[in-house]
């Protein structure tokens, strides 16, 4: 809501500077977003009076105007002027050399220079409205009222400061100048002076000429109307146009401008009908019929439904109630009798109508927020008065007022201790009473410690004690409320293992050298994964249409993006390890989806960044991150969480059958991650087709995704310390040769079965000469140790023999010679 300072000053004496006034409003709930100074660009423009006019010696259409620029008549300037409407004695806006004016032809702002026009020097200019930026009119000079003092800057007379206030939806009363003036009055301890509309009524009674019938009282709470005859349609006075413009509305003609002016002034939307259009002299407030249409004043033909309320004559709708008038009943050049409507409509209905027609207006904006039916009458009287005064109209006797169901506001009673209970501060009831009275509440001290108040009709938002307490505190100022720390007992804290483990995982991944990313939950269908992911009814775009069921595609996309970014340097520098911890959304029947937390990561590029020492390390294939880096990370993270994951090769044949798995992972280079036989995730190399789809660099990319919640039940809650071994370990190497398709894990597990073995580390894997074809050699470093004694070589020899025998029996291993 834009509010002109000048206008506000009609109702309240503004004692503070503009900025401080804005600050007061802001603190009390009406946030001032900006203050616009109107007329600030009118530097070097002052009010002058034309004292003489003479013809231009060399041009028929030009005159020489002598303008008096000081009230003491000590300064006069003669300028060349083309305005045909100028008369001696007129008060005008005079621009001195150096002023900035809008050029009538180009519309650009230009500096006024000293010029010679047809041989006559001219140092200044008598301005038109267009040159001042007031309107598009540049046919003649702007003639100011005769009582304006000469010599003052134009901005002192026409200039203004305009507050741009953000009015919250609960305060429709502040969508009006009077409402804002009332706030200022209360906040600065000034009196609010309201207009008291008075006008002479003439001729027959409106009630004998027009009837109003509300057939949908559930949608129209009150309907008031007056009749003004003999109006002359013309532009409204300059001051009114200025105020409308200041508040962001375009002047149209005096009648329309008056309805808008009073809407801005009181907050009550009004509508003026050309009375000729109300055929049958009957107004019917009814629901629209099925298939009925209306052409609104914006020229659009609109289809109506019975959900919508219309104002109709006996034949057809003449307006969509509270939203927009009809073109046929619009006030125009030939209008002489105006039927003025001031009504109260159901907010919800106005909102639905306006939404379904995609038609919002200043009127519907206010009705939606709920305006008291009590406001209709004062606003109607004010507009009628202005039409009589400014449009030459005669008001018919009486007013139509159909108000089927008036509801009295119920009082709110509260005690001083209730205020203290909410605010944490004692408030003197007498002070509270003062504040509330100033705001228009009727207050009564019912007992020494209790106040009973009835909110004023315009405060539709105040209905309970908490509301009243807000009124008291916001006017007194939140600053006055003390600052205390919570002193109530601390609630019992619930353990949250899922949350703890999730945050722990974030830290662990960072510790393993991964950068965390966070990506959108909404993704395209291709990236959502799953069989039937959650679909949004109104997505912003195709890329954000579904909710993800896996974190992997976003990670791959992020990898692709960052590979592209670093590609300009050298491909080798492009070592990327990223992870995300976040939710996937798994649909459930007729219920909210299951939101499951996952950890996923992707890694690709050189294992180490290039440095001046490790020259060439990244150029060999060995130097690139691969499956085993990912596996190593998972193993380490699991170890930190006291877990030991198993990695199961996916049988090549079945992998294609598993929806996501087959799509994302290279079937031969993927493992299921399991805890005690339960699958908790997958790790593997990216499927080459997926890599192609994302246009990834031709280097190994490894992905994994783990289900966080499943980890919780396997973590060891009572982890015990293991004593440091007192006896030395004996280390032996064993190298065995097996068929190439025997998994290393099987051999390692077999070695571990020996009770004396405490550590097994694979340190060499080899195939090729002199190892036979289809065979491979694996070399393990094995540590033997006993908790009770120092082992003898003989004991270790024996254990080794048993291991070798076992390996030979199980996987046909032979000792490498």
């Amino acid at each position: 809501m834009k509010a002109s300072l000048k206008w506000l000053k009609d109702y309240v004496n503004i004692t503070l500077p503009v900025r401080q006034t804005a600050e007061k409003l802001t603190m009390a709930g009406l946030e001032s977003e900006a203050i616009e100074i109107r007329g600030g660009e009118w530097e070097n423009i002052i009010i002058g009076q034309v004292v003489a006019l003479e013809p231009h010696p060399n041009a028929d259409r030009l005159q020489l105007a002598t303008v008096n620029l000081k009230s003491e008549q000590t300064e006069q300037i003669t300028v060349v002027c083309g305005a045909p409407n100028l008369r001696a004695g007129d008060k005008v806006a005079f621009a001195r050399v150096g002023a900035h004016l809008i050029d009538g032809h180009s519309g650009q702002k230009v500096e006024l220079k000293r010029v010679k026009i047809r041989g006559v020097a001219s140092e200044g200019m008598v301005c038109s409205e267009k040159e001042l930026g007031i309107s598009d009119n540049y046919e003649g000079a702007l003639i100011l009222p005769s009582d304006v003092p000469v010599g003052i800057p134009l901005s002192d007379y026409l200039g203004d400061a305009v507050f741009d206030l953000e009015v919250t939806p609960n305060r429709p009363d502040c969508l009006s100048i009077i409402g804002i003036a009332r706030e200022i009055a209360v906040l600065t301890g000034q009196r609010l002076e309201l207009p008291s509309p008075q006008y002479i009524e003439e001729g027959s009674d409106i009630r004998e000429r027009i009837t109003v019938d509300i057939t949908a009282p559930e949608l129209c709470r009150r309907y008031c109307a007056s009749l003004v005859e003999g109006v002359t349609i013309a532009p409204s006075p300059l001051w009114m146009q200025e105020r409308l413009l200041a508040c962001g509305m375009r002047p149209i003609n005096n009648i329309v401008d008056i309805t808008n002016y009073v809407m801005l002034e009181y907050g009550q939307p009004l509508h003026a009908f050309d009375c000729e259009a109300v055929s049958g002299r009957k107004i019917i407030v009814r629901r629209a019929g099925e298939g009925e249409t209306i052409t609104t004043i914006d020229g659009m033909r609109r289809a109506l439904t019975p959900e919508m309320l219309v104002i109709a004559n006996e034949k057809c709708p003449v307006a969509i109630a509270g939203v927009m008038g009809g073109a046929d009943s619009e006030v125009g050049g030939i209008t002489s009798t105006v039927l003025l409507e001031s009504a109260s409509f159901l907010p919800l209905n106005i909102r639905r109508t306006s939404a379904s027609l995609h038609l919002g207006s200043e009127a519907s904006f206010r009705f939606e927020r709920g305006i008291s039916p009590e406001l209709t009458l004062p606003a109607l009287q004010r507009a009628t008065q202005l039409m009589v005064e400014l449009a030459g109209g005669r008001a018919a006797k009486g007013i139509i007022d159909v108000y089927p169901d008036r509801v009295e506001r119920s009082p709110i009673t509260f005690s001083a201790s209730q205020i203290e209970h909410i605010l944490g501060m004692k408030v003197d009831l007498e002070e509270a009473k003062q504040v509330l009275t100033a705001l228009g509440f009727q207050c009564k001290r019912v007992t020494p410690s209790e106040l009973r108040v009835i909110p004023p009709y315009w405060r539709t938002d105040v209905n309970m004690v908490a509301d009243v307490v807000e009124e008291i505190s916001r006017i007194m100022g939140y600053d006055r409320i003390p600052v205390t720390m919570l002193s109530s007992p601390l609630p019992h804290q619930q353990p949250a293992p899922a949350l703890d483990i999730r945050e722990r995982l974030r830290d662990l991944m960072v510790g393993c050298g991964f950068q965390e990313i966070i990506s959108y939950s909404m993704v395209s269908r291709e990236r959502a994964g799953g069989i039937e992911p959650i679909h949004l009814a109104n997505p912003m775009n195709r890329e954000q249409e579904y909710l993800r069921t896996t974190l992997l595609p976003n990670l791959v996309a992020s990898l692709a993006l960052n590979q592209r970014h670093s590609i300009s340097a050298t491909k080798e520098e492009n070592s990327i390890r990223i992870f995300e911890v976040g939710k996937v959304y798994l649909p459930r029947d007729k219920d909210l989806p299951y939101e499951e937390e996952r950890l996923a990561a992707v890694l690709s590029g050189p294992r180490a960044k290039p440095s001046w020492q490790h020259q060439g390390i990244t150029t060999t294939k060995k130097g690139y991150l691969d499956f085993f880096d990912a596996k190593g990370v998972i193993e380490e993270v699991m170890r930190q969480l006291t877990l030991e994951a198993e990695f199961k090769q996916i049988p090549l044949s079945s992998s294609s059958g598993r929806g996501d798995l087959g799509e994302f992972f290279h079937p031969g280079r993927t493992a299921l991650v399991e805890l005690e036989g339960e699958r908790i995730g997958v790790v593997g190399e990216i499927h080459p087709q997926l890599a192609d789809r994302f246009d990834l660099l031709p280097q190994t990319v490894t992905l994994f995704e783990l289900e966080i919640e499943k980890l919780i039940s396997y973590t060891i809650q009572d982890k015990r310390y293991r004593s440091i071994p007192r006896f030395p370990e004996i280390v032996r190497d064993i190298a065995v040769v097996v068929d190439s398709d025997i998994p290393a894990g099987r051999i390692e597990n077999a070695i571990r079965e020996s009770p004396l073995v405490v550590k097994v580390t694979l340190f060499d894997l080899y195939s090729g000469e002199p190892i036979a074809k289809n065979k491979k050699s694996l070399a393990f470093r094995v540590a033997y140790q006993s908790a009770e004694r120092t082992l003898t070589n003989a004991e270790v020899d024996e254990a080794e023999q048993i291991i070798l025998k076992q390996l030979s029996d199980e996987v046909g291993a032979t000792l490498r010679s």
Binding site: A28, H421, G424, S488, Q515
Partner: protein
């Protein structure tokens, strides 16, 4: 014989002065003190002397031997020291060469900010809890006094899930704020309640430098007997100054949110201009950091808390905004586009 000894001593010490390495030193030692060394020979001849002379000359010879041994030890340690020194000198490295790169891992700036915010509140006894991101309309709106058809409903542009119930309504949505978690927590527990509720929220909103369709909020709620507006001010005052610095001024102004009454907006004096007015604070001198208020009695009633007995406050804030203010980030879209050139700055 005494003269002989004196000569040996003088010669030996003089000779030692010209020695510069350990090999020569060893030769020197053998020459004087070796098995056939000059001093040794003198000592061997002691037995041939009369007892009187033997005692005097013996004492002198041993004295000279000790002196030479001391000289030798001193010389040895001097040489050792200079050898080490010259060795160390040769072993210099160029410390201006770049350090070997480590692969850095970092938390996302939002995770960092979120943890920082939450840890301030957990230190004040608030417990970290979470709720669903896909919500029922009831929890996101009605339970919080936001009714369909009221203009306040428009304060949140909603992304709806394509799901219809038996009545043909579309009641599922992506939560537009973290406030529904307040309701879920109060439905599950009895007062006292003191929780902090971070999480992702969603808006149907065209993205630009200051708007995102997905972002994070942190919601807080404290309900018990006798919790007042003064407690709200104290808690949030403490928070603002812990997060933004002890010297910050904090402003509480009246604002409107349907689920609180009275409502309040909390601002701090502008970090860029200190309150004078600049572009960052749109010339107001203040920067809004969160919205808050006393929990609306109707909200309490809906979760079966008696508003005559219990009262409380709630607050909510955007998380990205905190990083944006702190680091001068001017485009919120940077957060979730996952450009490592952005992320690895934090």
């Amino acid at each position: 014989m005494i003269d002989r000894l004196k000569v040996i001593k003088v010669e030996a010490i003089a000779e030692l002065g010209g020695i510069s390495d350990l090999t020569e030193l060893e030769r020197w030692r053998i020459h004087y003190m070796g098995k056939k060394g000059q001093l040794t020979q003198v000592l061997r001849q002691l037995g041939d002397l009369p007892p009187e002379d033997r005692r005097i000359i013996g004492a002198l010879a041993n004295e000279i031997k000790r002196q030479l041994e001391d000289e030798l030890a001193g010389f040895k340690s001097r040489i050792a020291r200079t050898t080490v020194e010259s060795k160390l000198e040769k072993e210099w490295i160029d410390v201006t060469l770049p350090g070997y790169p480590v692969s850095p891992g970092r938390l996302h700036p939002t995770t960092q900010a979120l943890r920082e915010v939450c840890s301030i509140f957990t230190s004040m006894g608030f417990q970290w809890v979470e709720g669903p991101e896909v919500e029922w309309e009831y929890y996101n709106f009605e339970a919080l006094n936001i009714f369909k058809g009221h203009p306040a409903y428009d304060m949140w542009d909603t992304l709806w899930v394509d799901f219809y119930n038996e009545k043909g309504e579309m009641p599922m949505l992506l939560r537009t704020h973290t406030s529904p978690v307040q309701i879920r927590i109060m439905e599950k527990t009895r007062p006292p309640v003191r929780v902090i509720m971070p999480g992702k929220v969603y808006r149907y909103e065209a993205t630009d430098a200051t708007h995102e369709s997905m972002f994070y909020q942190v919601e807080g709620l404290a309900v018990d007997k006798d919790i007042t507006f003064a407690d709200l001010k104290g808690t949030l005052y403490e928070f603002a100054r812990r997060l933004f610095g002890e010297e910050r001024r904090v402003r509480f102004r009246c604002d409107y949110f349907p689920f609180v009454e009275p409502g309040v907006e909390v601002s701090i004096d502008c970090l860029a201009c200190g309150g004078v007015g600049c572009r960052l604070c749109s010339n107001t001198g203040w920067i809004e950091i969160l919205g808050a208020g006393m929990v609306h009695p109707d909200v309490l009633r809906r979760v079966d808390y008696d508003p005559e007995v219990y009262s409380g406050f709630a607050f909510g804030m955007g998380v990205e905004r905190i990083s944006m203010l702190r680091y001068g980030i001017d485009d919120i879209r940077l957060f979730y586009s996952n450009d490592l050139r952005f992320l690895n700055q934090f």
